[in-house]
C-alpha cells in the first residue's frame, strides 16, 4: 500500500521534495483533487505526505513504537506525531505542518523506512495560501520556530505554542503588542496582556490556574467608625481559567470502594457518640513508650483502643457478628479480628489484627507496626486484608472530632476516633482541670443491634480506657 501511494504521488507530482508546493504546474491534477474535496462537506484542504526524515548514522529503517495522534486529529507544526526506535535510539518525530491527520501509514511494530511517507496530513487550504509564501521547510539545523499567520490581512508573527496560548485565553493576536524581533509576539507578551486584563500575576506555565481577583486592601482600619467606610471591595475582573475537565474510568481501588459502599448503604445504620477522658491513658503510654521501643516497637494509642474493644466484645459478642444475606442467621464470630482503617497513597485500606482476644497490648502494637510498614509500601497480602470482624478508624490522626463512619460489610459495627484535645473539665471535687479528651463515634447495624447494647459496649470500652488499671482485672 505504501509503495503504491508513492507511485501515485509521484505521478501527480504532488510533492517534489519536502517543501510544500501549493500551486505548481500540476495545478490541473491538483484542482481535480480539490474539486473532490470541495464536494465533500468536511474539508477542502490539500493532503500532504509527510515523509520520515533522515535519522542520522546511515539508518534506513526504524520500528514504529507509539503513535501520539490518530486519524482525524489536528496537529500543529512541531507537535509530536510518533515515537520510532532504531538500534537503542528512540526518536520523537514531530510534525512539519499544521493540519489534520488523514492517514497513518504504519501500525505499531511495523518497520518504517526513511524517505517514505509516514503520515498524510491535510493542510487547510486557506493556510495553504499563506504557507506558500512563509512556511519554508526548516532544515534540522535551524531554530527558526516562527510561523506567520494571516489575521485580517495583517501579518502577525507568533510561534504555534504562543498562538495556542492566545487561543486558550480567547485573545486576538492582533490586539497584542509584540516585543520580539520584527514585532514578533512572544509568550511574555501574551502573559503581560493577560496580566493587564486581570490585574494578576500569572504563573509562567501556560496552563494557568484560576486566579481570584486580588482584594484591594489588607490593612486593618484603626477606629470602628472608619470600618464602615474602609471595607475592602473586591474588584471584579474577568477571571482567566484555562483548565479542562478530566474524565477517567472508575477502576481498581475506586471500583472496590464503590461496591463496598453500595452494599454498606443497605445496612440500616444508627450512631452513638461519646467523649472519653484519656488523661490517665496518656500518662500510661508515656511511661510504656520507652519500654516498647527498647523491644523495637513503636507504641501508639491504637493498641490500647483495640484491646479494650476486644474486652468489650467478650461481653457483647453481637457486635462481633455477621448477618447473612437473607437476614436469616446471625453468626457470632469467635475471633476478634479488629480492622484498622489506613490511609495510603491510593486510598482507604483496612488490614486487621487477627485474634486480638488472645493478644497482649504489646503483641497488638507489634502487629500494627508490621501492617503499617507493609501498608505504606503497598505490600499488604490478602490474608492481612480479609477476615475482619470489627473495625476502628482513627480519623483523629488527620483531624476531626465526631464522625459518622460507614460499616464495612460483612461486619455490623464500626468506631471512628476523633483527635485528642486538651479541654477543661470538672473533676470529682468540682475543680476545673486539664483533661485529654477524645470523641468516639460508633455506627451499628440496627437490624440486629439495638441502641442499648451499643451504649453499654461503649461505656465498658470507655471505662477501660479512662481507668487503664481496670483492664488488668479482665485481661485474658
Amino acid at each position: 500500500v505504501c509503495i503504491h501511494r508513492v507511485r501515485s504521488c509521484s505521478s501527480i507530482r504532488f510533492i517534489k521534495s519536502k517543501y510544500v508546493c501549493v500551486f505548481d504546474k500540476s495545478a490541473l491534477k491538483f484542482s481535480h483533487q480539490q474539486r473532490l474535496f470541495r464536494t465533500s462537506a468536511v474539508s477542502c484542504g490539500q493532503i500532504v505526505q509527510f515523509k520520515l526524515s533522515d535519522i542520522g548514522e546511515g539508518i534506513t529503517e526504524v520500528t514504529v513504537k507509539e503513535w501520539y495522534i490518530k486519524e482525524g486529529d489536528s496537529v500543529s507544526q512541531f507537535d509530536s506525531i510518533c515515537e520510532v526506535q532504531s538500534d537503542k535510539a528512540s526518536v520523537t518525530i514531530t510534525s512539519r505542518y499544521d493540519g489534520v491527520i488523514r492517514k497513518l501509514h504504519y501500525s505499531i511494530d511495523d518497520i518504517a523506512f526513511v524517505g517514505k511517507p509516514l503520515v498524510d496530513i491535510e493542510i487547510d487550504a486557506s493556510k495553504g495560501v499563506a504557507s506558500e509564501e512563509d512556511v519554508v521547510e526548516t532544515p534540522p539545523m535551524s531554530h527558526d520556530e516562527h510561523t506567520h499567520q494571516e489575521i485580517k490581512g495583517h501579518k502577525t508573527l507568533a510561534t504555534p505554542a504562543v498562538r495556542r496560548l492566545a487561543m486558550e485565553n480567547n485573545i486576538k493576536l492582533s490586539e497584542v503588542v509584540g516585543t520580539g524581533k520584527d514585532n514578533r509576539i512572544l509568550k511574555e507578551d501574551i502573559l503581560n496582556y493577560l496580566a493587564k486584563q486581570t490585574g494578576a500575576i500569572l504563573p509562567p506555565s501556560p496552563k494557568a490556574e484560576i486566579i481570584p481577583p486580588l482584594p484591594k486592601s489588607e490593612t486593618v482600619p484603626a477606629a470602628p467608625k472608619d470600618k464602615a467606610r474602609k471595607i475592602p471591595v473586591p474588584v471584579s475582573r474577568p477571571i482567566v481559567f484555562s483548565g479542562k475537565d478530566k474524565t477517567e474510568p472508575v477502576t481498581g481501588f475506586q471500583k472496590a470502594m464503590v461496591k463496598t459502599m453500595s452494599a454498606a448503604l443497605k445496612i440500616p445504620h444508627f450512631g452513638y457518640c461519646d467523649e472519653i477522658d484519656l488523661t490517665q491513658l496518656v500518662q500510661l503510654r508515656e511511661e510504656l513508650k520507652p519500654l516498647a521501643e527498647s523491644r523495637g516497637v513503636k507504641l501508639s494509642f491504637m493498641p490500647f483502643f483495640i484491646k479494650a474493644a476486644s474486652l468489650g466484645l467478650l461481653q457483647y459478642p453481637i457486635l462481633n457478628a455477621s448477618l447473612d444475606e437473607n437476614c436469616q442467621n446471625v453468626t457470632y464470630k469467635a475471633s476478634h479480628n479488629i480492622g484498622v482503617a489506613m490511609d495510603t497513597g491510593q486510598g482507604l485500606i483496612v488490614p486487621n489484627v487477627k485474634n486480638v482476644q488472645v493478644c497482649s497490648v504489646f503483641d497488638i502494637a507489634s502487629e500494627l507496626n508490621r501492617l503499617q510498614s507493609l501498608g505504606s509500601a503497598g505490600q499488604l497480602g490478602t490474608s492481612d486484608l480479609t477476615g475482619g470482624t470489627f473495625t476502628l478508624s482513627n480519623i483523629g490522626t488527620i483531624g476531626g472530632t465526631y464522625a459518622k463512619p460507614v460499616i464495612l460489610p460483612p461486619e455490623v459495627a464500626i468506631g471512628a476516633l476523633g483527635k485528642i484535645q486538651v479541654l477543661p473539665r470538672y473533676n470529682g471535687k468540682g475543680e476545673v482541670v486539664k483533661a485529654q479528651i477524645m470523641n468516639v463515634s460508633w455506627s451499628a447495624d440496627h437490624r440486629i443491634i439495638d441502641g442499648a447494647t451499643m451504649a453499654r459496649f461503649s461505656n465498658l470500652w470507655k471505662s477501660y480506657l479512662e481507668n487503664p488499671a481496670s483492664m488488668l482485672l479482665d485481661l485474658k
Binding site: 526506535q85 528512540s90 520523537t92 477502576t251 481501588f253 509500601a377 490478602t382 490474608s383 480479609t386 460489610p409
Partner: protein, 373 residues
Amino acid sequence: MVLQPSLKNCLWLSCILRTTKAGFRNTAGGALIIQSVSNDVYQNLAVEDWIHDHMDLEKRQVLFLWRNSPAVVIGRHQNPWQECNLRLLRQKNIKLARRRSGGGTVYHDLGNINLTFFTTRKKYERMENLKLVVKALKALRPQLNVHVTDRYDILLDRHYKISGTAAKLGRTSAYHHCTLLCNADKFVLSSVLKSPYKGLKSNATPSVPASVKNLFEEDPSLTSEMLLDAIVKEYATQHQIEHHITLINPADETLLPGINNKTKELQAWEWVYGKTPKFSISTCLNMAYKDSVLDVKVNMDVKHGRIEVCNIDLPEQWLPPALYSKLVKGLTGSKFCPNETTTLVTTLLRVCPQDDELHSRWNLLCENMIMLM
C-alpha cells in the same frame, strides 16, 4: 576541579541554561560539563529531559554526569515484567524507572556512572562519544583492554560488557547516554535482571543479556571518581574547554523551571508501567488445594499496564459462577499491579456470601493471580 554552586555560579549557570537565540557571550566555550548532586534516578532522568527540551545545544554541547542509588532502568519501549524481577525489586526497595531513550534494561547503583552527551540532532554521533570514553580509560590505565563494539557496547578483554548505550533524538536536539561499571553489586544486578514471569508474549524491545564485569575487578586501584575525572579531562581536551565540572541540583526549580513536574511524570505509574507496549500472558497456575493440585490456565491481555482481557480456566463450580464473573469484571480495566489487585479482591470478598470454604478458595486463587504481577 569542581566548582561548588555559589550564587555567582548559579546565576551564570542559570543564564547558560536559559539561553535562547538571543545572543549570549560564549564565556564557557563550546561545551559544558555538569554533574548532578542527587542520586535519585527520577530526578536525574528529569534533568536529561530538561536539557533536551530547553537548552540550546547549538552554541554549546553538554556532558552530564550522574549516579543513582539502586535502581533498575528499563528502555522506553520495554516491558518491566519481561525484564526484571519486580517482586525482588519491591522487597529490596529498589526503584524502577523507565527512561525516554531506547535500548535495554540496566541496573544502576552508586558503583555505576552514567554519562550523557548532549548535542544538536545534526551532531549526534555515538561512536565518537564512546571512543572518547575508551581513550580516557586507556589514558588512565594504558594496560586496559577496552574497545567499542558495533553494537555500541564497551567490552573489557573483548568479553565482558562494562558499558551499555542508549539514545534519544528529538526535533533539534539529541542525547546519547551510556553506563560504566566501576564497582557495582554484580550479585544484585544478576538477580534483579532475571525475570521470573512465565508465559509473556510481547513485542516490547527485549534486552540482550551479557556477561558483565566491574573495572574495579580488573584494577582494584580504580575508583568511580578517578574514572569520572579521566573522562572529564578527555572531554575538556576534545572540546577545548577548561577542566571544570559544574554541580547542579535537580530539585532546583529556579535553575531548572519545570523540573519538578518532569520528575513527577517520570515517577508516575502511568509512565513507568502504563507505557508498557501491549502484551499477553498465557500461563498455568498450579494451586495446591486440600489434597490435590489444580492446574488452572490463565490468559490475560495487558494494555497500558491495565488488564484488558482476563480468562481463568477453573474447574466447573469450583467458584460459584456469579463470583467468578465478579472477579473477572473487577480485574478488567484494573492495573496489572499486585497492590491494586489485592485491594480489589479483598474488598470484593466483603460483598460475597460469607462461607469459609469459599473464602479460602477465593484467597488461594487471588494470591496465585497476584504472583503473576
